[in-house]
């Protein structure tokens, strides 16, 4: 009911966590877009990042670990009037939910996916995430991670996602601007936010700050190869800004919406009784004219 997006829920994050930067930037973006609270639905899975929806005065769907994207897809299909935003951690979105992320890219629902990318599992106290750099020691991979990190932004670009960006939680203004663009973009938009974990992470915030670089001004965000190259610079450097941005392509459920209109599904009238009766007739076999006479 308010446009301040303030929430009364007590925040459980560690004091000083860069997640606060993401929270503030998101509220700024929502305000800049003048979206009413009752038209914004924040969807998350499980993890520290996944608590974010509770800290915003808007709709909340805090579902299962890894399943935020399918839930958001269902919400978007049922009510396209809502601005549906997924906000969850890299473990939730790329690990447990990796398969859903891939297929959501194919579907292109009109949702925004914000990944709090801290390269660690924080709520379970310090195991590797799919984004942890090879060789880094964790509270489970004691001798260092033995596998390569995922390259999910490059994956998003390869799958034809039309808005792919990287942000830095320590750079509020730029992040809010990226969120605003992503939310305004029609179709699935992905923003991976570098969010140093100050409790379980292997590197302090400054280590990240030194490696965060702006995307070169002459980068053409419609150039797929250049965008992939920028995406792949991680984990050595973190180029932030819009990597890839194409005009919107057809979004998920367009064919269905062309048939039934754009109303939320709960507002659609019941299917006409004649349609139901026709289907019963379809299953009915009448005796032939000659028979039974």
């Amino acid at each position: 009911m308010t446009n301040s997006y303030e929430s009364q829920v007590e925040n459980q994050w560690c004091p000083g966590c860069p997640n606060f930067g993401i929270l503030t930037a998101l509220k700024h973006a929502l305000a800049a877009l003048a979206l009413p609270s009752s038209k914004v639905c924040l969807v998350s899975g499980i993890g520290q990042a996944a608590k974010l929806p509770h800290y915003v005065g808007a709709h909340v769907f805090n579902g299962l670990h890894g399943r935020a994207v399918p839930a958001a897809t269902g919400i978007h299909v049922a009510n396209p009037e809502l601005t549906t935003i997924v906000t969850s951690g890299d473990g939730c979105l790329y690990g447990e939910g990796g398969n859903h992320f891939l297929h959501a890219l194919r579907r292109n629902p009109d949702i925004t996916v914000i990944s709090h990318d801290n390269q660690i599992y924080a709520l379970t106290k310090g195991q590797a995430s799919p984004m942890t750099r090879r060789g880094e020691k964790t509270r489970l991979q004691f001798d260092g991670v033995e596998v390569e990190p995922s390259q999910m932004l490059a994956t998003a670009i390869v799958h034809g996602c039309t808005f792919v960006a990287r942000g830095f939680a320590g750079e509020l203004a730029g992040l809010a601007e990226l969120f605003e663009q992503a939310i305004a973009h029609r179709g699935m938009s992905v923003v991976d936010v570098i969010q140093p974990c100050i409790t379980w992470g292997n590197h302090p915030v400054d280590w990240y700050r030194e490696r965060v670089v702006a995307i070169p001004e002459n980068h053409d965000p419609t150039d797929r190869h250049a965008a992939i190259e920028l995406a792949l610079e991680v984990p050595d450097r973190f180029p932030v800004g819009v990597l890839y941005h194409l005009p919107a392509r057809e979004t998920f459920a367009t064919a269905y919406r062309d048939r039934v209109g754009s109303e939320p599904l709960f507002r659609l009238p019941l299917i006409d009784r004649r349609v139901i009766d026709n289907h019963i007739d379809r299953l009915t076999i009448a005796p032939a004219e000659a028979a039974g006479r």
Binding site: G74, R273, T284, A286, A288
Partner: protein, 552 residues
């Protein structure tokens, strides 16, 4: 009374289902109800499959394990199914065989008549018509309908092929040719439970299905996709986890939503089943059972997932499990599933099986009640300070969905406050929320329909079953009564929570179900019922009356 059993047997890919369908429909055109079951292997070509027709004057909608007429498309299938043929039965084959009553070279005749080998199916159908007293006109009318979209040439070829089969069989049968059956005026609905369920779901306001293909459940989403006028959004999900989470998301945003799967897929869904219980979001999950464990027998039938649907999902939350008995009952249960899911804000499981999915019943016109849709969403205008999980006397909180009004709504899989926000208040909130969720169970139990009693009054022995076995048990009961055994039946179609009703005293109670461990019998025993014995079948075939008579 007429009760004729036809088996059409062959390899996958030989068109036996097509032949069965054409003959079934032709008999229905002649006013005779047909019950058709299919048995097939999990493969696209080869193996042994059968389509079985049971033709009568009044519907006999339960399977017979034996055949009066056996039409074999190949020698291997002939050898496999020959033991099912009655001593006086008629064997129809395509290659010379001393034991056969009819030898009709289906493919050769087809090629000779039409030049098209594929018309062998039409030759076989014509042969069956002659051998069963079905007038050729009914068959040609049915062929005209079946081939309407394929052009006049294809139709003419198939009718000619059918005619050749019919004439050759008539000639060969000579004096053994059965009299033509008189036409009847009865009109029937010919449908499987899975044909009926999508129509009922649309009538009940369903607008969303996401599912991952899995036999024998795939027909549900396919029907919605094939018939866009039913108004249901369909999506083939990447896996069952996505399917159910999409459906729950859609439901949270106010759409009546469902998913459909089989046991293995449901096993994957159980985490989200628990989610639906926790966030009190309605969802209908159709579980079409097949034999397990693991991949088991993908194209056969079973009732092995009762306990999985009742106990599946971590934590404690109310749910409802409905097990329809036939296509008409499936209509009622589908409507109840959506209604009760909404009313109690719970997951509801519609528990069918391969037998219900792939068997075609002859019924009077399917009835879909006019009041199939009952709305349960609250009015946002009437609520000032909205709390999604407001504590109420019956545990059911007024439900609003995203975007319904100005209120913001919070759904949380964590333990939550009345406002739907994460909490670890173990002193007050947790106990209150546990009690609130479980309080819904009391009303729910009262809403569950009692089982169907049939000839219980004077019965000394009661056959107790659930779900798809109803007609087979009834048939066995009548046969036993004819042999002066005082038998009655009690049949459950709403299986969890167990309905509350008075059990008749001092009867022998035999529980019948398609599993090896007596899952339902165990539930009854836990509730204090004294079970005298169990009859189980777990070979993948449906329970039929003769199986029961043998077991008793």
């Amino acid at each position: 009374m007429m009760d004729r059993s036809l088996f059409i047997v062959g390899a996958a890919g030989e068109g036996i289902q097509t032949i069965g369908d054409v003959i079934s429909r032709a008999f229905l055109r002649h006013g005779y109800p047909v019950f058709t079951t299919s048995e097939f292997e999990s493969r696209i070509r080869g193996g042994n499959s059968s389509t079985r027709l049971r033709i009568a004057e009044e519907p006999l909608n339960s399977p017979r394990p034996d055949a009066d007429v056996l039409l074999a498309m190949n020698p291997r299938a002939q050898a496999h199914y020959a033991p099912s043929l009655q001593a006086e039965g008629l064997l129809i084959v395509s290659e010379p065989d001393a034991t056969a009553g009819l030898v009709i070279p289906f493919a050769d005749l087809a090629v000779k008549q039409t030049g098209i080998k594929l018309s062998a199916n039409a030759v076989a159908a014509g042969t069956l018509a002659a051998a069963t007293g079905l007038p050729f006109e009914r068959l040609s009318e049915e062929l005209a309908e079946a081939f309407a979209k394929r052009g006049q040439e294809v139709l003419r070829a198939n009718v000619a092929a059918a005619r050749a089969g019919y004439d050759t069989a008539t000639h060969q049968l000579g004096s053994r040719l059965p009299e033509q059956l008189p036409g009847r005026s009865a009109r029937h609905c010919f449908a499987s439970a899975h044909d009926a369920i999508p129509i009922a779901a649309a009538a009940a306001g369903c607008r969303f299905i996401a599912a991952y293909p899995m036999s024998p459940s795939t027909g549900i989403i396919t029907t919605f996709a094939k018939h866009p006028d039913l108004g249901v959004f369909t999506e083939q999900a990447e896996d069952e986890l996505a399917a159910i989470n999409m459906a729950i998301g859609a439901s949270a945003a106010g759409a009546r939503a469902m998913t459909a799967t089989s046991g293995g897929g449901f096993a994957l869904m159980t985490e989200a089943l628990s989610l639906a219980g926790m966030i009190e979001t309605p969802i209908v999950i159709l579980v079409a059972q097949r034999p397990g464990p693991a991949t088991g027998l993908p194209t056969r039938t079973a009732q092995e997932d009762l306990l999985l649907t009742i106990r599946g999902g971590h934590g404690e939350f109310p749910r409802l499990v409905l097990a329809p008995a036939d296509p008409q009952d499936a209509v009622y249960k589908t409507i109840r599933a959506f209604e009760l899911a909404d009313r109690f804000q719970i997951p509801v499981i519609l528990l069918t099986d391969q037998y219900l999915a792939d068997s075609f019943f002859s019924l009077p016109r399917l009835e879909i009640p006019k009041d199939a849709y009952q709305p349960y969403l609250s009015d946002p205008i009437s609520i000032e300070d909205y709390k999604r999980y407001a504590r109420t006397e019956d545990g059911i909180s007024p439900r609003l969905v995203y975007g319904q009004g100005e209120h913001t709504i919070s759904l949380d899989s964590d333990e939550h406050t009345e406002a739907g926000h994460i909490t670890e208040d173990l002193e007050t909130t947790r106990p209150a929320m546990v009690a609130k969720r479980l309080r819904k169970m009391e009303r729910l139990r009262a809403a569950v329909q009692p089982p169907i009693f049939d000839r219980v009054e004077d019965a000394e022995t009661l056959l107790v079953g659930w779900g798809s076995t109803k007609n087979a048990i009834a048939e066995a009961m009548l046969a036993l009564r004819n042999a002066d055994r005082k038998v009655g039946t009690i049949h459950f179609t709403e299986v969890w929570p167990l309905p509350e009703f008075e059990w008749p005293a001092d009867r022998e109670i035999w529980v019948v179900e398609s599993n090896a461990t007596g899952q339902f019998a165990g539930l009854l025993e836990q509730s204090g019922v004294r079970v005298s014995g169990r009859i189980g079948r777990s070979d993948g075939r449906p329970i039929d009356a003769s199986f029961l008579l043998e077991a008793l």
